[in-house]
């Protein structure tokens, strides 16, 4: 076997697998998004050209769901990174001597998001939940967590609390990776802690910070699990993220073509963003 | 059995020519050393012989058979890598047995051959240990054991001593030389250390920038270097080169009217070469050259003396360790006329 053929053989398992698992779905996505099809007529879609896309683009629900996901993604990523960074930097001295602290701190993110959502359902319950109970004791009043006004804040808080450990872990590792000599050189030059942090340590961790933000944004954007079990689409669609929108359109409204059209739009948007971000990163590296 | 030949071999990586038209022969049972500075292509040449790289043009022959297109295994050569490349997850036994098992040799025979090789290299007590539990010298012996167990036509060594400390190096050098006598196989050995080359080789190939500078026995290279590169590469301390001279039949004239008596030669040399041990000290009056001592390195048995000769520059002289020399001292130099080497403006040897 020549090296070239060898390479193809080595790559074959993954490539064949992905083509089978994702290749067909992509084709189906494209074909069906341009067709009128229901659960009964699954095998025989009727082409209706851009009608589904038209429906999606003209659906205010689609745009509010997209806006929700965007807001959610950016805000949670921001909050998680800031909190994670502060925790990592502030707690480093005691964590260095007590490594087991990391295990406890990352526990929230090991739990399935859906489980977290269910736990919060318990916590928020007006009769059985512990949170309203203690808020009554402390403040005499407890807000409606899942009302239309509060639900975004509630979901934002849940997500942030669960995933801050992720940012924390990343930043802790990056903070450790800063060469000790760099800090020593700056210290000898008389650099005070605040300047050291802002002008030396942060720049060193910059790639990690960007990466953490990016990853958390992606995960926040496509959030589904915890919202679904806690509130579903929510009062007046107030908690409909883009993923929930697509799910509801498919399973509840049973409008397959429309759901797929929305999926295709999402795919293209994600692909384009990734493409430009990769180009940007590659240009910055060289 | 075991003749290795390269014919007009060229190798390029992209637009960079790494090996330029190299031809050489390693005869059966010969210990051939490829030597040269870093980047001269000696390791690449070795890998071409092994089959780990393909030639860009030219051919490789083993026992008159053209092996240029053959995979490493089919060339029936063994290689000892610079970092030994021992499989860290296998024991010493496993490392040595690997090649035999790959060839599906039956287990009893594998066992016999592995123990035989281990015995030769005094590795038997370590057969069950993993490489990380061994010392550098022991690991090296395992690497050699792995090589000899296949009974190949020839051995290829890629700078095997560079990872050892000085004391171990001398001892292992002796072991390799003894191994050669015991096995009698063809060995091709790569090193940047000319002392290793001189002490181990039957034949030395000096390389520079991918080209062969000279091929010959150690004595040959030492006594008759074909060009200034070989002249200065072989032998330590380096040969003195007196450049910028004008040849006048039986003398070489340098700046400030300094002259050196020479023999008659065929050609027009402008560089004289003389080895430090071929210069002796004498009284300044009546000497060939007048010099002053710049610095003296005391080596115990020898003194390595740096002197300055007006009109010629700095020279290196080897003198007895019993001599007492002071910096700035004026001294005379006598040159052994028979040992003067002559080179032309291109650095090539001019014959007598």
């Amino acid at each position: 076997m020549t090296p070239k053929i060898e390479n193809r053989v080595l790559a074959a398992p993954v490539v064949v697998f992905l083509l089978a698992m994702l290749g067909f779905p992509v084709l189906i996505d494209i074909i069906y998004s341009f067709s009128e099809v229901s659960f009964e007529t699954l095998r025989s879609p009727k082409l209706n050209y851009g009608e589904n896309f038209y429906k999606v683009v003209n659906d205010p629900g689609f745009w509010s769901a997209s806006w929700f996901s965007l807001k959610f993604g950016v805000l949670t990523a921001l909050a998680e990174c800031i909190l994670g960074l502060l925790l990592a930097v502030y707690l480093t001295p005691i964590i260095k001597k007590n490594n087991w602290m990391i295990a406890i701190l990352i526990m929230p993110m090991i739990i399935a998001p859906v489980m977290m959502g269910l736990m919060y359902r318990l916590v928020f319950h007006e009769f059985v939940g512990s949170l309203p109970h203690y808020l009554y004791l402390l403040f005499g009043n407890s807000p409606g967590f899942l009302t239309r006004e509060n639900i975004f804040l509630t979901l934002f808080t849940i997500e942030t609390l669960q995933w801050t450990p992720f940012a924390f872990l990343l930043f802790y590792m990056a903070y450790q990776a800063i060469p000790g000599e760099m800090r020593e050189a700056a210290a000898v030059d008389g650099t005070r802690p605040w300047r050291m942090f802002w002008f030396i340590e942060i720049p060193q961790m910059a790639p990690t910070i960007v990466a953490a933000f990016f990853i958390r944004f992606i995960d926040g954007f496509r959030v589904f699990d915890n919202i679904y079990v806690l509130a579903g689409p929510g009062p007046g669609g107030a908690s409909t993220s883009l993923s929930i929108y697509i799910y509801e359109t498919f399973f509840s409204l049973r409008d397959i073509g429309k759901a797929l059209a929305a999926s295709v739009i999402l795919f293209c948007a994600a692909f384009l963003i990734l493409f430009f971000v990769s180009r940007f990163l590659r240009r910055n590296k060289s | 059995m075991g003749t290795i030949e390269l014919r007009n071999v060229n190798k390029s990586f992209g637009s960079v020519d790494v090996i330029k038209d190299v031809s050489l022969v390693a005869n059966e049972g010969e210990f051939v050393v490829f030597v040269g500075p870093s980047g001269c292509g000696k390791s690449t040449l070795l890998r071409l012989i092994a089959g780990l790289e393909n030639t860009s043009s030219g051919s490789v022959h083993i026992d008159s058979k053209d092996v240029t297109e053959l995979e490493p295994y089919h060339r029936n050569l063994s290689m000892v890598f610079q970092s030994y490349a021992l499989y860290p997850h296998m024991s010493v036994y496993g490392n040595i047995a690997f090649a035999l098992k790959t060839a599906r040799v039956p287990q009893p025979e594998v066992d016999r051959k592995v123990r035989e090789a281990a015995e030769t290299l005094k590795l038997t007590p370590y057969l069950n240990r993993k490489p990380r539990e061994l010392s550098g010298g022991q690991r090296q012996r395992v690497a050699i054991g792995r090589a000899i167990v296949r009974k190949p036509k020839g051995f290829l060594f890629d700078e095997p001593l560079s990872n050892l400390d000085a004391a171990l190096r001398t001892q292992t050098r002796l072991e390799i030389a003894t191994l050669h006598k015991t096995l009698g196989s063809t060995i091709i050995y790569v090193t940047h250390d000319q002392i290793e080359a001189m002490t181990l080789a039957d034949k030395i190939v000096v390389l520079k920038d991918g080209q062969v500078m000279q091929i010959g026995s150690p004595k040959n290279l030492y006594a008759e270097p074909r060009n200034t590169f070989v002249a200065q590469f072989i032998g330590s301390p380096k040969m003195n080169l007196l450049t910028d001279g004008t040849y006048e039949g039986d003398t070489m004239r340098y700046h400030e009217d300094v002259t050196i008596n020479t023999l008659e030669v065929n050609g027009n040399p402008c560089i004289l070469g003389i080895r430090p041990e071929d210069i002796s000290f004498c009284d300044p009056n009546g000497a060939d050259l007048k010099a002053s001592v710049v610095y003296n390195e005391f080596h115990g048995a020898d003194n390595n003396v740096f002197v300055k000769v007006p009109g010629l520059g700095d020279l290196n002289v080897r003198a007895s360790g019993k001599l007492d020399l002071k910096v700035g001292q004026n001294i005379g130099l006598t040159l052994d006329k028979q040992q003067i080497h002559y080179f032309d403006a291109d650095g090539n040897r001019v014959s007598k």
Binding site: N7, V14, F17, I106, I110, L131, V229 | Y87
Partner: protein, 277 residues
Amino acid sequence: MKINYSNILRWLVFIVAVLVMNFPVISTISASLKTAAEISQSPSLLVHEPTLQNYFSIFEVSERLNIFAYLQNSLIASLIGSILPILLCFPLAYAVARRGYGTNLIFPTIVNLRAMPLIIFAIPLYMMYQTIGLLDTSLGLGLILVVVNLPLALLLLVNAINDVPYELDESARMDGARIFTILIKVVLPICLPTLATVFIFSFITAWNEFLFGLMLTTTNAMPMTVGASFFFSSGGGGIQWGVAAAVIIVASLPPVVLGVLMYKHISRPMIAGAVKG
């Protein structure tokens, strides 16, 4: 003994952070230990009459909750979703690491898959599975979990193989080994630690998956995550909060135990996924 005041403050911050972030977990554990009577009376975190009855109730297999089935389904799907990525990716990782094959197209495509919202494939996958009969099977679920874990597996394996000295490959070649012998007998054993890390991280990710479990299974292959959530949708008779809390705890245990024991192993995938991705 010198008291370090700034460190005391740090410890406080640590404790507060842990308590706040894990508040729902603590609540749930406390609820799971309460009798049905106590739950309706006292929603505080303190348990006056702790009981393990709720946990025992779970294991009485009922129509509403067949925990053994759910756990088994999760186990099978998660094992498929964590072992198969390694088997599929290892050969390709070798080609990428050693020969730079696919660095222009295949490798970036697979790694960037991580950033794709996979829900876009869920619907057509549903239809595909329905046609070929993979709907509501642990195998079907496991296969899509493989796709979820592929990108990180490939990234980590490429890094691991890059750390294996190339001279070992060449030495094996001189010893007569062909590509697959080199892969399996030389490179793979040295990469075992990374394989373990990838497996653990993939297993946790696969176990925690919800969306695909929700969409691609109904009765036979329902994983623990979906089963637990269905237990919450009250189907007549109201929710027994104590039992529900116990269900959540039991469902969350496997990944938590694995993660806490192996936290050193899963920090590396996080870093790699972040900085290189």
